[in-house]
């Protein structure tokens, strides 16, 4: 840098620059301010939406989590109860612990498997072959159906005692179980449904794979690196920011899953609480027991937990996520 500056004799001497520069900066500042204002004006529909639809209800629910609000009584009966709700959750609510257990089991198994599945399929679909576009669309299809009720109902039809899955097993002489109604298998059935919808992370992985410079593979080949080594020493490190991104989003989405568990268990979270995801417990408290204050407290504990997981991800990310611009 120093060298470049020195080779430009045409520049004004430093001593002469400050006054105009300050003036210019001031003008610049004013222009920027009005530009900024215009920016906010253009943003305002979104900002108002954020305030009214997200921020306000969130803060209200934070307030409600310290009250005995029960949905139906009018506002004058809402009483401040301090940390009572939070205390009850941790000390007197066996269903809370059950739902935490179910949600963690679900998350720790389903989310990694979903990422592995989506990465695996993305690797297969990354090769340019005839009809690969068709396959990409087909693998994405289940995700289009998303967390839909219809899909959950199909799952019920497929995995109950007389479902298509057992009919398939019986061809091989295997007698299947009543999967969705068996407390030991219901959650697994739910996980399969979640993992099967790997289209969104798959597409992101595909896009990430396209970004890996081919020279690296060529160079590796010249050096005689096996495909296996190429994958672990080129593909994975180059892909690590995308993996990080997918891991974060899938974790957050995964823990918030509600619809399929609700539909498949008919709203019970059963059998025997096997599919009682945390979100279902919140729902029960809010709409069956009308303990909306309590449910709000549950929701805030949930938010804090997800926030904590996110922080852990970000702080451990620097050890395994490699950014191509060399900032780290």
């Amino acid at each position: 840098m120093a060298l470049t500056t020195a080779s430009r004799p045409a520049l004004p001497v430093p001593a002469a620059t400050p006054p105009p520069a300050r003036g210019r900066r001031k003008k610049n500042y004013a222009a920027r301010r009005s530009e900024g204002l215009a920016g906010y004006v253009f943003l305002s529909p979104w900002l108002i939406g954020l305030m009214a639809i997200t921020a306000f209800p969130m803060l209200l629910s934070l307030y409600l989590s310290f009250t005995n609000y029960d949905v139906l009584s009018s506002w004058e009966f809402v009483e401040w109860v301090g940390f009572d709700n939070y205390e009850k959750i941790f000390t007197l609510d066996p269903t809370f612990w059950q739902s935490v257990r179910v949600t963690l089991t679900f998350g720790l198994i389903a989310i990694p498997l979903k990422l592995v599945a989506s990465l695996g399929v993305a690797l297969l679909l990354n090769r340019e072959r005839r009809g690969v576009g068709l396959f990409r669309s087909m693998f994405y299809l289940p995700s289009l159906l998303g967390g839909s009720v219809a899909l959950a109902l199909v799952w019920v039809a497929m995995f109950n005692g007389e479902g298509a899955f057992n009919a398939g097993l019986s061809i091989f002489g295997i007698e299947g179980k009543n999967w969705i109604n068996d407390p030991d298998w219901a959650l697994a059935t739910l996980m399969v449904l979640t993992i099967w919808q790997f289209g969104a992370p798959m597409v992101i992985f595909l896009a990430g794979l396209k970004q890996v410079p081919t020279e690296l593979y060529e160079a590796a080949q010249v050096d005689g690196a096996s495909k296996y080594k190429q994958f672990f020493h080129i593909t994975l490190p180059m892909l690590s920011p995308v993996i990080f991104f997918n891991l974060l989003l899938e974790t957050i989405n995964g823990f918030q899953g509600f619809t399929s568990a609700f539909v498949i268990s008919n709203g019970t979270g059963g059998p025997l609480g096997a599919t009682k995801l945390y979100t279902l417990h919140i729902y029960d408290k809010a709409f069956t027991d009308f303990e909306m204050g309590y449910a709000s407290a549950l929701a805030w504990i949930f938010l804090a937990a997800i926030g904590l997981i996110t922080i852990v991800f970000f702080s451990t990310g620097k050890f395994w996520v490699h950014y191509s611009d060399g900032e780290n």
Partner: protein, 454 residues
Amino acid sequence: MHPATPAPADEPTQHHGSLPAGGLNRRHLLRLLAGTAIAVPAAGLLAACGGEEEPAVDPNAPVTVAFFWWGGEARAKLTEEALKLYTSKHPNVTITPTWQAFTGYYDKLATISAGGNAPDIFQIDDNGLAEYAGRNVTLDLSKYTANKKIDVSKHPESLTKYGQLGGKQVAIATGENTPAIIYDKTKLTELGIEVPQIGWTYDQMITWGAGVTTKAGGKYWGLMDPSSDYKALWLWLRAQGKEFYDGPKIAFSEADLVAWFQLWVDARTKGATPPADVCHEAVTGSVATQLVVTKKAAVSFMWSNQLSEMQKATKNDLGMTAYPGDPKGQWARASTYWAASRTTKAPDVVADIINFLVNDVEAGKILGVDRGLPNNLDVRKAVSDALTDQKMKDTVAFENEITPKFGPAPAPPPKGHSGLRNTLRDIAETVSYGKATPEAAAKQFFTEAAAALA
């Protein structure tokens, strides 16, 4: 935030498509994340509330009344027709009917009632009545029953009482129904087994059920396992002269519950009922998943007014009789109620509409026995004579047969009941799945009940 940096409008969708050229860096990643909402929707959703507009009116000016119920297509047609008949007689009244399936009905009712904007008239059942009346959502109709604006003089007294809480008439029954077992007549005829009768004991019923299972060669079972069903437990208690609730408290003992659980453990051992995973399919009570409909059992534990609806879901001919045990355990129960909102702008009109629906013969003929037998005995007679649906006729015949055997009506279940029946369901299943003994389960139930009803 940096105001001068233009933010691409399509940022949130970017993660589905292309990534920034030259690979990802940290700034891109953060921007992608910022563009993707990572707030917990549950936190926001919980505080969201809805409302319905109700214009202010004076007595003769046009009135709009919001009207809300649950049910299927058929019920919607009947109800809308009856409401049209009312508005044709009262042109100043506009009724805006809204209906939906039972699933989600109470969620929606709760959300629109939040902050005191309940629909002017809404359907409710005894599982929800105390929750709403106890929180002062419902209009006190005592004034109207006293001045005969809502005439209950022709209604059975027990039905009227079943709509009273804390000395107030908080709702008016839409009709009468009773718990009833619905059995598969076709299958029993095939097997050559007699159909169940009113007044059978539980032991008789269970032995009979085991016989069905044996004769059917294990292709289906005799009985649904009703151990997780609050109404079956309630009737079983009442047949022995006991009760489910005493005011806001549980009226039966832990020993009672152990005996109840044990009864059905034994029934399963004898082969009268299917294993827990099969019963679990039917445990929410919805008609479509009942074991009689899915042909996995010969008997389901239902309500008397569900016969016609259930018949539509299966080709086999269905029959109906009382739950086992002394029929004095049964009572004239309000199948559902009409309740009014305390915040309605037109309470007189609302009372008049309710009166019309329960007392007008023409309205009664339109509504039939879809919400149970009409309360008004004159209407009941007229409606029964005019019925054409065979299964509805069977329902009437059954109700008429059992009515003289009824015991006195209990009070409607207290606040906290809707949660407690789920507790019973979940705990009874720990027994049927073999994860808990009847003793341990009963103990657990009383621990949780104490917290739920506190």
